[in-house]
């Protein structure tokens, strides 16, 4: 065992600043990390976390300041140089190649070779070994990445990083898409690595992950390094205060008293391929219903089916007692049903990144701001201004490309876009992924406000705390079915976990079986 505290820092940054065309990303940052320890970096969206690690990993270069690795100063101009020095990064945006196989991806930058040519068999064996190490034997090394689910892809990404034998492994929100089982596995692997002396930098917006895993925590705010301390030296509330620079009183807005509501969105026996095997569910006006369960149990498909994206869906869907299964998003959004969906991946499914913030906000409701065939400039300006004000989107000018916003603000744009259509049913697919605590709270508050204005909300999340804190009811899915519903105080972490694993629970919990139609 290494004694982490005594060892000299593995990597050390001093006086590092980085500006992106005038905008500050990092300023005067001194920071160091050691081998054999897991070090969390915390901060709001845009605090500079990714920039920091991108500098260490050779993706961007600092404007000023120095980077020292094992006592030698370095200035990496590309990721491969950093990897040579032992610094390997799993980036926030996946860097896998969808059309290449798992084995190709894992050995992409330095494949085993024979006679100068890539040795495919050695490469496959290597992949198998690395995958076994993170308990992903179910992934075939010959499979294409594009055929894998998001969580499997993230595991491959981790295997790929491990394959580079890092001395410092950086995980930038690398667990945000993992299923809880994989998170568990990854924790174990990280613990093993730590024992072997590897240092780790861990960026996550999930506080409980940080709590469970890390030895040291550093907080960043507005591009500055605020403080570094050992785990346990600060309470959660203190940490949050450091991150956002103010106190947080309530994490979740208070829930209204449980009432029995008339179902507004009613789903009966919904079937699709073999992913939805007869889902029955209802959401009342003003109600927030959570969707729980392990990742990949049909939650996403359910939301897509309700939004008219899937072909060949069977079953019955009514909104306000009318209508059928929407045939397209246009159909779902218009007419009587007025459904909105905040999709899983905001960059590819939620936004047109190069287009302006204003256009992105209006994209679902141009018909609402048009006079005859023409868009009314005054009306659209007003709508944009209202949306920005309502969600407090932080921006420079509405004409700027939406890509210039931070992740959290981008997510707000996606939600605001739908609010402009005045939806009656709001479907949310893991909307807080990769979003900082401050912004998360705003979203929770917003959801509650919408519910209070009679919107029916169906909310899928991979974060149990969110389900517990936000939802009036939670339906847990397993294998394309809703196995259990909880409401009120019965929504507890233990209950949710047990239901997710489809374990029949002792009778003490007031869980009830889903009512079959």
């Amino acid at each position: 065992m290494l004694d982490g505290k005594a060892a000299r820092p593995f990597a050390e940054l001093s006086g590092v600043s980085k500006y992106f065309s005038g905008a500050r990303a990092l300023e005067g940052v001194d920071f160091s990390c050691r081998e054999g320890s897991i070090h969390a970096i915390l901060g709001e969206n845009g605090a500079g976390k990714s920039t920091l690690i991108k500098i260490m990993a050779g993706v961007v270069q600092a404007d000023t300041g120095t980077l020292t690795v094992e006592g030698t100063p370095h200035r990496f101009s590309r990721p491969s140089e950093a990897a040579k020095a032992g610094i390997v990064c799993v980036f926030q945006e996946l860097s896998l190649l969808p059309d290449l196989s798992v084995a190709d991806n894992i050995s992409i930058s330095d494949p085993p070779r024979r006679f100068g040519l890539i040795d495919r068999r050695a490469q496959r064996e290597r992949a198998e070994a690395l995958l076994a190490r993170i308990h992903c034997e179910d992934v075939d090394p010959r499979a294409l990445i594009r055929d894998l689910s998001l969580s499997r892809r993230q595991m491959v990404e981790i295997a790929k990083a491990l394959g580079k034998n890092p001395k410092l492994l950086i995980l930038d929100e690398a667990t945000s898409a993992l299923t809880s089982r994989d998170v568990e596995t990854v924790y174990n692997v990280l613990a093993e690595l730590k024992a072997e002396g590897t240092g780790m930098l861990f960026i996550s917006h999930r506080m409980h992950e940080v709590e469970a895993l890390c030895d040291t925590l550093s907080v960043f705010r507005n591009g500055r390094h605020i403080e570094t301390f050992d785990k346990g030296a600060r309470t959660q509330d203190e940490i949050v205060k450091l991150m956002i620079g103010r106190d947080i009183v309530h994490k979740f807005p208070p829930k209204p008293p449980a009432l029995s509501r008339k179902p507004h969105l009613a789903v009966t026996d919904l079937k699709w391929e073999n992913r939805l095997n007869g889902v029955s569910l209802s959401v009342g006006k003003g109600e927030i219903v959570g969707l729980g369960g392990l990742d990949g149990q049909g939650q996403k498909e359910l939301l897509l089916a309700l939004f008219g994206v899937l072909r060949g869906v069977e079953g019955k869907v009514t909104v306000g007692g009318e209508g059928g299964i929407p045939s397209s998003p246009a159909d779902a959004k218009g007419g009587r049903s007025r459904i909105a969906l905040v999709p899983e991946d905001r960059k590819t499914e939620g936004l047109m990144l190069p287009m302006s913030i204003a256009d992105n906000l209006l994209v679902a409701s141009f018909d609402k701001v048009s006079q005859g065939p023409f868009i009314d400039p005054a009306k659209s300006r007003q709508a944009v201004a209202d949306a920005i004000a309502q969600l407090q989107i932080k921006l420079n000018k509405p004409d700027d490309p939406v890509a210039s916003l931070s992740g959290g603000n981008q997510q707000k744009v996606v939600i605001a876009k739908w609010l402009l259509t005045k939806p009656e049913v709001m479907l949310l697919n893991d909307p807080t992924r990769g979003i900082d605590v401050g912004t998360k709270q705003e979203l929770y508050r917003l959801m509650r406000e919408l519910a209070d204005k009679d919107t029916a909300i169906l909310f899928y999340s991979t974060d149990y705390a969110e389900l517990i804190g936000c939802c009036d009811r939670v339906a847990v899915m397993y294998d394309g079915r809703i196995v259990t519903e909880f409401s009120g105080d019965a929504i507890t972490e233990e209950a949710l976990v047990a239901a997710a694993l489809n374990i029949t629970r002792p009778a003490d919990a007031p869980a009830r079986e889903a009512v079959p139609a």
Binding site: L100, I108, L117, E137, S328
Partner: protein, 357 residues
């Protein structure tokens, strides 16, 4: 099955896996086999060396141009200059490939090198100029045609006639022409004596250039770029080098096409419509051969198959009685139908989001 204890699903066999991942490619092989077999069945002298030689001769230039196109399509680009580069090199070859044997060999090398050089220039413009390949090559294609016209304002040239005969016939004829292997009578040669030289050329160049290249890091980087350029960059792959290689090899293959064309026709011809037709056909061939125009998927061998399919379709007009003025229509409809074959899968897609990939 419990969700907690992950069980390893049974692994598919290598072939099954390959077929599942390369449906387009295997489909193309089947289509080609069917087309070619039927053609030979109804041909009065089908299944003969003569027919085989004629058919392969006819296909070589297009096959090379399609292979050139494949290089750039795999990286997610498109090269609208391949036909023009073929024309340029055929004009160069028509000036150089004659005289003493060493002059002929040098001429061949210079011609192909000129093609590769032009491809490299394409690559430099695209990589360092950061231009979209499709539009940059639209422009450089015009330059290539201009150069071809400068070299050869009128069609003509005296390419070595022995070479013409040797390269457009069977291995036996080749040996006979150059008095090799006992004038082609050597016993060991007989089992392969019937093989058309053009086919041999295609196979050798594919095997010597493409197959090893694909196994290099640079070669794999082509796929990485076509698949996701950003991810390729983040993985520290040599993106610029790979793109330069892709366009250089495209130029190389187009150069091979031009050289073969010059030898086959014994001349050069700066024919603008022909250059355009080859470029467009190369795109069709690439698609028929199972290469995705989005990049990252498919192989140069697929492009070769695609080119052979295109050619095989036109063979039918010579044996079936189709009104000559309806032939262009039939050809168009068949082409449209062939490239639409893949659409059937689209209609079966159950999750419409998959349509946008």
């Amino acid at each position: 099955m419990s969700a907690v204890t992950a069980t390893t699903p049974p692994r598919a066999s290598a072939l099954a896996m390959s077929i599942r991942q390369n449906r387009g490619f295997y489909g193309a092989i089947l289509l080609l086999a069917a087309l070619y077999l039927v053609y030979n069945f109804i041909h009065p002298r089908g299944f003969s060396t003569n027919v085989f030689i004629a058919n392969t001769n006819e296909s070589v230039a297009l096959a090379f141009v399609a292979m050139a196109q494949a290089m750039t399509v795999i990286v997610g680009g498109l090269d609208l200059s391949v036909g023009a580069v073929m024309t340029l090199t055929s004009c160069i070859a028509s000036e150089l490939v004659r005289g003493e044997p060493w002059q002929i060999i040098l001429g061949c090398i210079v011609s192909v090198a000129a093609g590769a050089g032009f491809g490299l220039v394409n690559g430099l413009v695209i990589v360092y100029g950061r231009l979209q390949p499709i539009i940059a090559t639209l422009a450089t294609g015009a330059v290539a045609i201009g150069l071809a016209l400068l070299i050869r304002p009128q069609p003509g040239g005296e390419v070595d006639l022995d070479l013409n005969w040797a390269v457009t016939n069977s291995i036996k004829d080749l040996a006979e022409t150059y008095h090799l292997f006992e004038d082609g009578e050597a016993a060991w040669l007989q089992p392969i004596a019937w093989v058309p030289v053009p086919l041999l050329i295609l196979v050798i160049i594919t095997a010597a250039v493409w197959i090893p290249f694909r196994r290099t890091v640079t070669g794999r980087t082509l796929y990485a770029i076509g698949s996701s350029e950003g991810a390729a960059y983040m993985s520290g792959l040599p993106i610029n080098r790979a793109k330069l290689w892709a366009f250089t090899l495209a130029g190389f293959f187009a150069g091979c096409a031009g050289l073969y064309l010059a030898i086959q026709t014994g001349s050069g011809n700066a024919d603008i419509p022909q250059a355009g037709a080859y470029t467009l056909n190369s795109i069709a061939a690439v698609v028929l051969g199972g290469i995705s125009l989005l990049g990252g998927v498919g192989t140069v061998i697929g492009a070769l198959i695609g080119a052979l399919i295109l050619r095989a379709i036109s063979f039918y007009f010579r044996i079936l009685s189709i009104d000559p003025l309806l032939q262009p229509l039939v050809e168009g409809v068949v082409l449209l139908a062939a490239v639409s074959l893949g659409a059937i899968r689209t209609l079966r897609v159950k999750n419409r989001l998959e349509l946008f990939r």
